[in-house]
Symmetry: C2
Subunit: 643 residues, 2 copies
């Protein structure tokens, strides 16, 4: 089993977000699950469980995966409880767990849709009906709740369910050689294995992954068995790329299909590879990661270039205005990256994790925690979004909770569990992946170490670490030097260290016999960086984006006026970074003098020969991308003309 | 009635196209209509008429507007017969006319779909079912055939039909206050009025136009009368912008909705305004033209920025890669422009007509006349078109005849009738709108004038006119000076004319007492022009397009290699124009030395700070846009980075 860290976050940037999740998002979500939000589409998710538990009368209502909303809420609640006691929240959670337990059938089966609506059809439509997906979310919730509270009840429920799954699925003659159309169970089983030590769960994960995409194809087999009956048409059965079931995982070499499914699948793969050390699986994880990160990821850490199928497109096709870049996909990318870090300490995984987290993930939620983006565009023109259906999936303002409410609870559970992403521990090395202030308890072969991290990151790059240990302990503190940073420096107890030869895979490896009172300071200079896209990306050709520290910046109409495409950024632009205490709890804005093409003297003609556009100098003000669309509707743009 | 010109084209560029229509397109279309094309979707269009005529047994098959395919074929055939006798073609046409006549019902009604499939439901679903649209196409065909052959039969058929329509539709208590969901009947009635002089037809056109978009809304009224029954869902009834029925025509101020419907409607409006002189209608035509031409037209003369609804988007939203720009819409733009020229001699209409004709319209057809584009993109990346559904409507190679075969016959009928677009005559002025070699007979109040035009246009800008007249005749020869041309010059009988004060609305007005032997030479220097898009168009920001004469040029992968987005065109680029006799019957290519950004030293990272891309000089070879995609699949790009 992999070592765990216990981190208490106390961070100027992130604590506010975690408190928002605690004070706004999770309570709102609870009301939503209980249909207490006026004018919102009903969820019915809690009611479904109550009906299945025999506590209320009625019919199932909602999507086939409605149960997963309850599980995601419970998971987020568990993480909050792990961070801080909250008897009232715990009581609500316990009551929900009681209902869930009652809804479980004798044999361990747990799914309110099938129990209430199609009792005879269990396991007949894995392609479309998210049965194992819902199971996976319940397992994740149970693991989180058990770890937070040490209460066994929900863990027992999911173990009973998982034991039953181990009987149903497998290579045996009476077993089902199938897998879910929406990956999730795989990563969940790995978590359940981690917490229980029961290898059957790991083996079932392995089975699901190995079966995926094999011929004869499971989707076709069950489709024929059902006599061609479908829930949503034949799409899911026929388009196997959509759910990464077009080929066995070891033959897949590109990120394709539904982006969330892809990263969930890879998360399970990487976790399994980290546990088993299987080199072929490791290679598959790396290959798929590589394609995603090096050829299909937006600078904001968004993935999924097209709305159709919420899917990847192809290498280097990264349109900024017709983009999808679902919030959930970036949340999943964070999961995938974290598991890759378990597999191999390489800053590239943490860099991408950071990129997604500080940009697309938190852009997904409004500053007040009350509205959300599914789609995270890099360029928005409100008029065009309204008139042209090419952009119709791109919303110009965040929306309230959705009928299919995947993104808000996903953001909630990630933010509530952020403490799990700060460090990775491998043998006697503690890797600091993220710079988030707080205290980590690390168990190194029985030696308890406390590492206190303290900084004003992500706004400033001076990060201080203080060690407390009951006894002098030999270990390596590995500090990620992000790829965005040049000229990082490290000092130990006030003595500057040469980084020559100290960097391994992007981490500064500070080996030492550490004792209480030791102080490490990492300095990551945060210069404003002019970022360019790979020459094969046509949507960034001739354009530049601004990044400072982990934040990608953008122009908004409210600060710069309209027609942001008329702005260009000179090569020698000087940037002024300023804290604006009144804006979004103190963002650093970046201003510079740019050039704007004016339409003034152009006239009416749409096309003109030998026209030289009138130019004028103009102040350009950038804000961090995550904060866009919090001051009304307007144009926004990440990639700006490069002059 | 408006004066007509009788033009025989004999042109190095266009005669080949017209011959293609005669030798390839129209015969192919005939086979298609008769289901004689192996492996093609059946048309059944002729069979529907035979069944309705009682000549064969069977059921109706095809779209509700299947009849229009027969009409469009007959119309194209008529234009070919007008240009050149062809007894075999005429015999086939006469036989088709016999069938059509037999399919007409006693009261004049003619529509095989309703006759065969819904005999009781005539005029119950104008919103969706193209009943008057089919009528309009049959009228257009009849007018063309009558003019070509002087044979009365099909004209009688459509007059009987139109007389019946005049009874059915109108403001009277027993009449239907409706109009068609796909405009076409309006422009057709104007043609029928022109050839018959029967004002009832003009008045019916007027009625249809005036009723459009009035409240209470006709679509809703008939929808409710039908009890909500629809053919294709409620879309057409609810989304009234789609068919420009969202407001009365005099309150419409923007090109919206389905682009073909829009230009067909405007064609009827402009023709009616030209005949009646109604100033309000004229103003409406100008207002809608203005918006289309100045804010929503591609440099290629394409219109319709989005595939959804094959529709306009909004002002200055002109994406190059997700574009629609349907071939039919540009054909319709040619119709609209021609009618605007009847209304007002202004070169802007002829310029746009020329732009559409020489670029999008002929790009719609392959060089061999055998395959066709619906969608005419300005930027194509074959990999992305396959992987990303945003571009899925963009085909990278032309397709054979389509199930819904609108574009090929539309191109055919336009090219076959091209002679109608060369000149407009208004009182004693002959306006030369297009520079196409051939001979025009013009009747100026009884004086027959022959104007012979001779040039190697569009490749060269020297155009010679020779006059023949039975007697000396006072008239003005008005020569369009295209907006793309600088430094035009004109000489009359070898004497250079000063153009100062001679230009009215973009036409050089050569007043004179013309006699046989007079020679006029117009010289339109064809320099290579660097075209820029309006500063409000974000998709052309920082980009430049190359135009020479009426041709917009493009880069193709086959000439330039892949990654065309890496090319940029320096401000001081020198262009070499060369004739390539082996390429597409002798196109002029344009070559220059440009700059290419290389990916060589970049490495694998998708985003890099402070990266300066390696550049190298490279030859760039442009071909006329219309000829793209005739040498296999590859990238193509009109707008190139401006350096």
């Amino acid at each position: 089993m992999l070592p765990l860290t216990d981190v208490q976050i106390s961070d100027p940037f992130w604590s506010r977000y975690i408190n928002l999740v605690r004070d706004v998002v999770v309570p709102y979500q609870w009301n939503a699950l209980n249909d207490l939000i006026p004018d919102a589409e009903p969820s019915h998710a809690i009611k479904n469980f109550k009906i299945a538990a025999g506590l209320e009368e009625g019919d199932f209502y909602g999507m086939v995966f409605q149960d997963s909303d309850v599980a995601k809420w419970l998971e987020a609640a568990a993480y909050l409880l792990a961070a801080e006691p909250d008897p009232q929240l715990e009581q609500i959670a316990d009551e929900v767990i009681d209902i869930i337990a009652k809804a479980q059938l004798e044999d361990g089966y747990l799914n309110t849709y099938y129990t209430l609506k199609e009792p005879g059809n269990r396991w007949t439509n894995l392609t479309e009906c998210h049965e194992l997906y819902c199971a996976g979310h319940m397992i994740e919730a149970a693991v989180a709740y058990y770890k937070a509270t040490s209460k066994q009840k929900i863990l027992d429920v999911v173990c009973k369910f998982a034991d039953y799954l181990c009987k149903v699925f497998g290579p045996g003659p009476d077993q089902l050689k199938g897998y879910d159309g929406h990956q999730e169970i795989e990563l969940a089983l790995m978590k359940l294995y981690e917490v229980t030590g029961n290898k059957d769960y790991m083996k079932l994960c392995q089975f699901f992954l190995q079966e995926r995409g094999q011929e004869p194809h499971f989707y076709e087999i069950e489709f024929n068995k059902r006599g061609g009956v479908t829930h949503f048409g034949e799409g899911m059965t026929k388009n196997k790329e959509y759910s990464q079931a077009h080929a066995p995982i070891h033959k897949q070499d590109k990120a394709v299909g539904h982006a969330v499914r892809f990263v969930y699948m890879c998360t399970g793969m990487a976790h399994l590879a980290a546990v088993t050390g299987d080199p072929e699986l490791f290679a598959s994880c790396e290959r798929l990661w590589d394609n995603m990160e090096k050829k299909q990821m937006y600078i904001t850490g968004g993935i999924g270039s097209q709305s159709h199928g919420e899917a990847f497109s192809t290498d280097y096709d990264l349109p900024n205005d017709t983009v999808y870049a679902e919030t959930c996909a970036s949340v999943g990318l964070v999961f995938f990256a974290q598991r890759m870090l378990l597999l191999q300490a390489d800053r590239r995984y943490a860099d991408a994790l950071e990129r997604s987290l500080y940009n697309t993930v938190i852009a997904g939620m409004s500053q007040d925690g009350k509205s959300f983006f599914y789609v995270n565009p890099l360029e928005v023109h409100p008029d065009a979004c309204k008139a042209n259906q090419n952009y119709s999936h791109v919303k110009t303002t965040r929306q309230g909770w959705f009928g299919c409410a995947c993104c808000p609870p996903n953001v909630a559970r990630l933010l509530a569990s952020l403490s799990q992403y700060v460090y990775t521990v491998r043998e006697r090395t503690v890797y600091a992946n993220l710079y988030i202030s707080g205290e980590a308890k690390v168990d190194l072969n029985g030696n308890q170490i406390l590492i206190k991290q303290d900084s004003n990151y992500p706004w400033e790059g001076n990060i201080r670490f203080a060690i407390r240990a009951a006894q002098v302990t030999d270990f390596t503190l590995a500090l990620r030097i992000p790829a965005w940073c040049e000229n990082a420096s490290v000092s130990v107890n006030g003595v500057e260290q040469s980084l020559d030869g100290l960097i391994v895979n992007g981490y500064a490896m500070l080996e030492g016999s550490w004792k209480t009172g030791d102080q490490i300071e990492l300095v990551l200079p945060m210069e404003v960086a002019r970022m360019k896209g790979h020459p094969l990306v046509r949507q960034t050709a001739g354009k530049v984006a601004i990044q400072r520290g982990p934040f990608v910046y953008c122009l908004e109409e409210i600060d710069n006026g309209s027609n942001l495409h008329q702005f260009s950024l000179p090569r020698d632009a000087k940037f002024v970074v300023e804290e604006d205490p009144a804006l979004f709890h103190g963002v650093r804005t970046i201003t510079t003098t740019g050039v704007k093409h004016n339409a003034n003297d152009w006239g009416e003609e749409l096309y003109k020969r030998d026209a030289v556009l009138e130019e004028s100098k103009i102040k350009m003000k950038f804000i961090p991308y995550y904060a866009w669309a919090n001051r009304g509707e307007g144009e926004m743009r990440v990639w700006v003309e490069d002059k």
